[in-house]
């Protein structure tokens, strides 16, 4: 058993940390405040090789791994604990990797190099206004139109809607649409690489809207309506009616990097707590001398390290399954470790920020302190972005107890 990172991974962490501390950390509050990631930052990050990391050089990616993607996202979130830049990055790592696995050659050659260059966005759009977790009840539909498709319906609470419109090339989403009846549930969903904008032009039939969120201000979330949106069959991913199953594989990849973002932000929170302990005294003692404080800190730090193990175990396993094609492992082996990472990562991060704010006292409740920005950022993942926490619990229970005994 080897718990160490490889030399490549160590050097990459060193370089990406230096890059993030130089280019992201000084402006993260401004990004959150102005609700915009600067356009030149996308370019710099792309030059550094931080998008589409696991995508091979053939499709314009750096040819890295999920472990490297997690290292990048963790360090980005440490530099921007509001997690806006990290979320943009994690989406543009997890979902491009799935497109690489299941997209058509034409779609991959068109989309992936643009994402890697920071000119285009590629995220996920499955959620609809009435539910995110219950994909089987999703209504957006796709019908055959000659050799292509026509899509109608509305997706909601989708990250990156604004960025898709703003970036020079454009971008889009891994999306599921109904290709059968409602009664067929999740067995009648097909996956597509849906573009909202390409070659600098918004596509007909795609109408985005942006919502005002309480946190991670630098990244937009919104929705889009599809009105007779015509799509070439080259954008279909995998076989018809296999969309649910492929998307679940994608969620395993994306949730791994989501948890990496949470532990990166949480690590920053731990450092803020340590700084607070060096300065804050009550009753003639450093507050960290009180067991009410130091026991809690030790407990949170332990949980953070546990979450970190889940993250890197999941990433390592994803690399074994998808990049090394190691036949000792199966895509479903990812279910439990990924669910544990996504369950634990956001919860630990939220706990760390809440406690760190309490240790900082009233100052932390003022907008002078940046801690609330970090709390609101990671809170999005406890609320349920990229998979509700109870769905994570369900996956862990189902895959350990057995599906026959954990029925809906």
């Amino acid at each position: 058993m080897d718990y160490s990172f490889t030399k490549d991974e160590e050097l990459f962490r060193e370089t990406v940390k230096e890059f993030c501390q130089k280019n992201i950390a000084p402006i993260w509050v401004e990004i959150d405040e102005k609700k915009q990631i600067p356009m030149d930052l996308y370019k710099k990050m792309a030059e550094q090789g931080l998008f589409a990391i696991p995508v091979s050089a053939e499709y314009g990616g750096p040819g890295g791994t999920m472990v490297l993607a997690c290292i990048a996202v963790e360090e980005i979130a440490y530099a921007d604990p509001s997690v806006a830049v990290a979320v943009y990055t994690l989406l543009c790592n997890g979902w491009p990797m799935l497109l690489q696995l299941y997209g058509t050659e034409e779609a991959k050659r068109e989309i992936l190099p643009r994402v890697a260059k920071g000119e285009g966005f590629f995220g996920i759009a499955t959620t609809e206004s009435h539910t995110g977790s219950d994909l089987a009840s999703h209504r957006v539909n796709a019908t055959r139109d000659g050799k292509g498709w026509v899509l109608n319906g509305e997706k909601m609470y989708i990250s990156g809607v604004g960025e898709t419109s703003q970036l020079p090339w454009g971008g889009g989403f891994w999306m599921t649409a109904r290709t059968g009846t409602m009664e067929e549930g999740h067995r009648a969903l097909t996956a597509y690489a849906l573009l909202g904008k390409k070659d600098g032009k918004m596509l007909e039939g795609y109408e985005p809207t942006v919502l005002d969120e309480i946190g991670r201000g630098g990244l937009t979330t919104g929705g889009f309506t599809l009105k007779n949106y015509k799509m070439d069959d080259k954008y279909r991913c995998g076989d018809v009616n296999r969309g649910f199953y492929l998307s679940m594989e994608g969620f395993n990849l994306a949730r791994t990097v989501v948890a990496a973002a949470c532990i990166g932000a949480a690590r920053w929170g731990i450092d803020q707590a340590k700084e607070c302990f060096k300065q804050r005294k009550s009753f003639g003692k450093y507050i960290s001398s009180f067991q009410g404080v130091n026991f809690k800190f030790a407990e949170l730090y332990t949980k953070l390290e546990a979450a970190r193990y889940f993250v890197y175990q999941s990433a390592w396993l994803a690399d074994k399954v998808y990049l090394e094609k190691d036949l000792r492992y199966n895509p479903t082996d990812l279910n439990i470790p990924v669910a544990m990472a996504k369950l634990y990562g956001p919860e630990v991060a939220v706990d760390i920020f809440r406690e760190t704010m309490k240790w900082n006292g009233a100052y932390a409740y003022s907008k002078e302190s940046p801690l609330y920005r970090a709390l609101l950022g990671v809170f999005s993942y406890e609320i349920g972005a990229e998979g509700a926490q109870n769905i994570m619990r369900y996956i862990i229970a189902r895959d350990t107890i057995g599906v026959d005994y954990v029925r809906w």
Partner: protein, 261 residues
């Protein structure tokens, strides 16, 4: 098209160095290490010259197993070739002997126009390597460069020395040492990091370069953290009426300590 040799060192990352509280000695085993900050500027300057004028950049380092990492970083930054002198006996060598090792390797290279190295390492901070190398290579040296230019066979260097900024010229081959001010070193991309792992430095032993008998001239008897004794004098200015008096007493105390005039 100058051929440049850059000497780099895998230094202990002083910012992360921990000390044994009982002995006050630094914990060197497993201490995080990285390329010295001034060495990074030397590599960057060499790469910028190559990008401007062509030529080649060779990175040279000596040390134990940990030096492989510094070479990996140099390759990721973009050097063409790497030479690594390694062996267990190197750990016990002092700066002057290590300079001899570096000079011996450089003399064996087919050609060089310029040797660049950090003015000082980030850990030992001896400032000896550049001048020592120039002496052994019998070439001119300019230290503490903050700007460097090459015209024909001449190198022009701007450097801060004592109380002035000097512009000095030397015929190449020459040795120039770099400071933190000379440039902002590049941060290798992921693609460069992954590419670097495919490149392997040429590994040499002391025996192979004819220095099997090398012995240190000086010996480090001990290293310990300086003891800082705090005086813990408190001038109570917590109440408004006491503030003026407390401030005067504080200024007087600082004068006595020689902190202020």
């Amino acid at each position: 098209m100058p051929d440049i040799v850059v000497c780099v060192k895998q230094s202990i990352d002083i910012e992360q160095l921990k000390f044994d509280p009982s002995t006050r000695a630094p914990i060197l085993v497993g201490a995080p290490r990285k390329m010295g900050e001034m060495d990074r500027r030397a590599v960057e300057e060499a790469l910028r010259i190559k990008e401007r004028m062509g030529g080649s950049v060779i990175a040279l380092t000596i040390g134990g197993a940990e030096t492989e990492d510094v070479m990996r970083r140099a390759y990721a930054m973009g050097v063409d070739e790497g030479y690594l002198v390694t062996g267990p006996e190197l750990g016990s060598l002092d700066s002057s002997t290590k300079i001899k090792v570096l000079a011996t390797v450089i003399k064996k290279l087919p050609h060089f126009d310029l040797v660049l190295c950090g003015a000082a390492s980030s850990d030992v901070f001896s400032w000896q390597v550049g001048p020592g190398l120039a002496e052994l290579l019998r070439v001119p040296v300019i230290t503490s460069a903050k700007k460097l230019d090459i015209q024909g066979d001449e190198v022009t260097v701007e450097c801060d020395l004592e109380k002035g900024t000097y512009t000095l010229k030397a015929k190449m081959p020459a040795v120039v040492t770099t400071t933190l001010d000379i440039n902002e070193p590049r941060i290798p991309s992921l693609m460069a990091v992954l590419g670097a792992s495919k490149k392997k430095a040429k590994v040499l032993t002391l025996e192979e370069i004819g220095m099997a008998q090398a012995k240190p001239l000086t010996e480090v008897s001990s290293i310990s953290m300086p003891e800082v004794k705090r005086k813990k004098v408190i001038f109570d200015g917590s109440e408004a009426e006491k503030l003026g008096e407390a401030t005067s007493r504080l200024i007087e105390a600082l004068r006595k300590e020689g902190v202020t005039e």
